[in-house]
Subunit: 666 residues, 2 copies
Amino acid sequence: VYYSKILCCSQAVENTAMDNVATERRAEESHRQDSADLLIFIMLLTLTILTIWLFKHRRFRFLHETGLAMIYGLLVGVILRFGVHVPRNTNNVTMSCSVNASPATLLVNVSGRFYEYTLKGEVSTVKGPEVQDDEMLRKVTFDPEVFFNILLPPIIFYAGYSLKRRHFFRNLGSILAYAFMGTVISCFVIGLVMYGCVSLMKTVGQLGGDFFFTDCLLFGAIVSATDPITVLAIFNELKVDVDLYALMFGESVLNDAVAIVLSSSIGAYQPAGDNSHTFDATALIKSFGVFLGVFSGSFALGVATGVMTFTKLRDFPLLETALFFLMSWSTFLLAEACEMTGVVAVLFCGMTQAHYTYNNLSPDSQNRTKQLFELLNFLAENFIFSYMGLTLFTFQSHVFNPMFIIGSFISIFLGRAANIYPLSFLLNLGRKNKIGSNFQHVMMFAGLRGAMTFALSIRDTATYARRMMFSTTLLIVFLTVWVCGGGTTPVLSFMSIRVGVDSDQDNSVNGIQRRDTEHERAWPFRMWYNFDHTYLKPLLTHSGPPLTATLPACCGHLAHCLTSPQAYENEGRLHNDDSDDLVLNDGNATMYEDVTVSTDALGTRTANPKHSRMPAFGEHELVVRGTCLVMQLDDPTMSTPPPATSPPPFSDPFVDPFSEPRRNRL
Amino acid sequence: VYYSKILCCSQAVENTAMDNVATERRAEESHRQDSADLLIFIMLLTLTILTIWLFKHRRFRFLHETGLAMIYGLLVGVILRFGVHVPRNTNNVTMSCSVNASPATLLVNVSGRFYEYTLKGEVSTVKGPEVQDDEMLRKVTFDPEVFFNILLPPIIFYAGYSLKRRHFFRNLGSILAYAFMGTVISCFVIGLVMYGCVSLMKTVGQLGGDFFFTDCLLFGAIVSATDPITVLAIFNELKVDVDLYALMFGESVLNDAVAIVLSSSIGAYQPAGDNSHTFDATALIKSFGVFLGVFSGSFALGVATGVMTFTKLRDFPLLETALFFLMSWSTFLLAEACEMTGVVAVLFCGMTQAHYTYNNLSPDSQNRTKQLFELLNFLAENFIFSYMGLTLFTFQSHVFNPMFIIGSFISIFLGRAANIYPLSFLLNLGRKNKIGSNFQHVMMFAGLRGAMTFALSIRDTATYARRMMFSTTLLIVFLTVWVCGGGTTPVLSFMSIRVGVDSDQDNSVNGIQRRDTEHERAWPFRMWYNFDHTYLKPLLTHSGPPLTATLPACCGHLAHCLTSPQAYENEGRLHNDDSDDLVLNDGNATMYEDVTVSTDALGTRTANPKHSRMPAFGEHELVVRGTCLVMQLDDPTMSTPPPATSPPPFSDPFVDPFSEPRRNRL
């Protein structure tokens, strides 16, 4: 920490008011230019929305909206690059001063007046300062932190908030295996293959700069994050098998979280091994510790704030929605301020809020929060994808190396294969409902890269290695989104995966064999479920049974204090509505379907008498076992049938108007 | 335009990787600090929301939420100022170089590597660079452009979108008089009084810097913008007389637009008179031209884009809402890019969209857009007000001058008086329904200053005069919000203004005498209404009568092309629902009540049989005349009574579930 005041050469110029005016003019001009640039993006989004509408209207399915957004971005990028040429803003001044590091803030003494400058970043040293020769292109290039701090959190939060919890928890073990072990395997496989590729390039003389082993590993971590957006929108529209959906969604959401923490752990490995860039066992252990610490810290933080935000402002939906929004955002900021990973915290915050807080909201706020986050997600998603298209032409320091690109495509193929097939084999040893080989092939094919990969790679483009990684990543995202995204529907039909599945019928025919209910709810899961239902739900929401009913008699006073009055009011109804949550129905999670899709998969608004009256045999058995478990635990009056009133929509705060039809009990 | 490359003194330092790492560390540290700072604001907002809830819950009314937000801001400001002391970030480097202007971008050559710096602004020259001694305080100070480009637009748009158009158009003449002439009068009165005050200060020796006449006028323009937020929330809650509400709301909304254009026109006056700072007739005319040009340009732009955005995406509410949001924002950006005033454009865009586009939206999107902009408005409003509180202690270059402060309080009192009383007198000469003296006193008292005044004054704090203006403005906002905002309820009862008025009963008893309907709808208004109803509504919305019915027969083919199929479908229903819009019911405008207020003023959800069956006499007469006017124009089948089906809520796209009960016809 040092404080240096450098007075190189001072020149007295008259501090006239005209100077003031000139500065103001320039600031105005710059502001006008900024507005015009932002307008380009808004127009791009508008165009995308209109085309999405046309596609939905005409029922085109060969190209998803994200692919579309990228194409528009590409077109605008081409126009900006070759069509418009705003000459260099010649007010740039280059100074060379005796500073031995670049400070975050710079005070420049211009003829007696001090101007404050903030560091924007390093400019490519390869081509020198002349590289930024087009003001327009420079202006449309965003600060990469924008992606991490503004655009990514709503997407990730929405993923957590809209998670279909029933199918997620049913396949939790497999999802965790794919997301954690699979991503780590993929990262190392890609890293090793790329290291081989880079070594080859070095001998051939194709490499124009340093590329260390840690860079290879970082590349592996960056491109290991699969994208939950494109494929799952298609899955959702086609009503693909629910277990496949749950596996893909769970993997790709957690994947992002693992990849982001993994890449920062590799960053932590770097400084110690900086001089040698060779293998270092202690640094590896340190990285592993960082990974565990950051991940569990972010997880704990997200869950803690997610649990904390149970609001009692039911009468004021505006205040409630605002509070909900602010708390989700503060989770992100809190995690960042604590040197954790905000994106991971926000993911688990979303999941916790969907599970607990959502039940406490008024129906109006449930609707508002759902719509708000849906909109934010939609805008952020389309913005990122169209920016990706744009940046292929407007980013001015691309390093495209054909060998590296070919190597990376081979490596991501191998990395994905090394993730899916061995893990599926191992998981199938333990699973009664096997993951069929057709499922494995689809998971292999549909592992496309998207927003997280882009955001991670654009974060730092200072060195040659980073720039080459960024350019290659961009190509990977384009090709996987267009080829894999567009090819998902044919592949599904080729692999004869069942489509058009109602989420109620979950004993699948093709991919996964009839499940054994006993095995599926293994004891850790059952224990957690019981604990959650008996203690956490009553404590944290208004919709559980009152604590006085679930806690032992000795804690009667305490239980009374902690139970909300509403819980008593709704005690009778709850046994019908809520006790089978997580086991039997999606509850509110079904609300978060893509409501813009007219062929809506799971959010069945109309009661389907076939399902509610005559469940399939395996289903039926499941219902009996599932509810028995609950019944024995909390209430002997369970067997009395509920009053057969069909609740009117939008009137009962505890009945989700969009949820699945209730099943009959025995 | 020049390009200078200055190589003062270069020093070769080894470009080690350690240097890289150190830079990264610093960037990380800075990012962490930013997150923590933003977290402070989020916590502040959360606290405010919780307290607002408490106040609403307990029905406290002596302090409005904006006043509350300011108090919390003050408290946190005190803590940050005196409690926390983060020592100066000593990485600031001061350079003095022979540059004769401050460039927007600076490339600094730090030992062979180029770093890009962007201009943040001028640092106070009075105390030199040492003034920013607390990193924390410096960090929580936002870029003033944030207020103009991010926080103000949603507030202003919401004001336009939620305007109660019936009462607004009825008092249009008076509102325009107060907003345009009144603001200009107020600006000049304040400017002159302040010039006297400043001259006095100069002779007494109290003035520490330059303060020109144009600065006085600018101060006048800045503090002439009255705030629509606080008082109107109280008016709304108390259900105050609708005409007083319309006058106050219309004035304060248009006021903001006038004040912002006025202040930029005064800026345009400045350069020419720069050397003398004396009166210059040509510059005055030029300023007047700028005022007219910018205002009418922004107006035209806002109306044009507001009209343009009629969407046909009814089946996809998410796309529709996203498009609506993007188009509103692009209006703002487009205006800024065209050197117009974005805030003014957004205001008129909101008003146009409420009048035309809103009718084309699906019911789901109507609800979504309403809730979205309500939330954005709420968050932006509370953020601005709590930031105001914070900035009193965290802004580090305050100039508090007791004489100037006293002078400014006297001047704003005189300016407001010179606006309201003479204009009311003149207006009463023409109005049949006079503006009573009690109304005038309330308008005088309730002219408090808020968000726009703050945003205008914080925009530029470079000179001594501007800093003194900013500090004084801050005090004016505080005092008017607390004293005038808090005192509104007592003043209303002291002035015996009718409260608890249903918006249907608009023949007021106290303030405004029984209206003469003929006079009220004078010929320009009537002509506009007919034109709007016959041509614009059918052309721009699905909800008007089809153009084939309104255009002459010779244009039959054209009319057929321009009419949407829905317009035909709804032809029959429209005569009941829509033809009396603007004259008889608020239509969708009543939807924009503060839905968080349980004692909701106008958005009566339950049908009130008294009003729908037996209107008061004056009301009745009005209904007859109003509808006759419409009836004669467009349809002879008018007299057949509508089918007496009560539409089910949320099912009929053209019936607003929150609107007032329909009146019976004769």
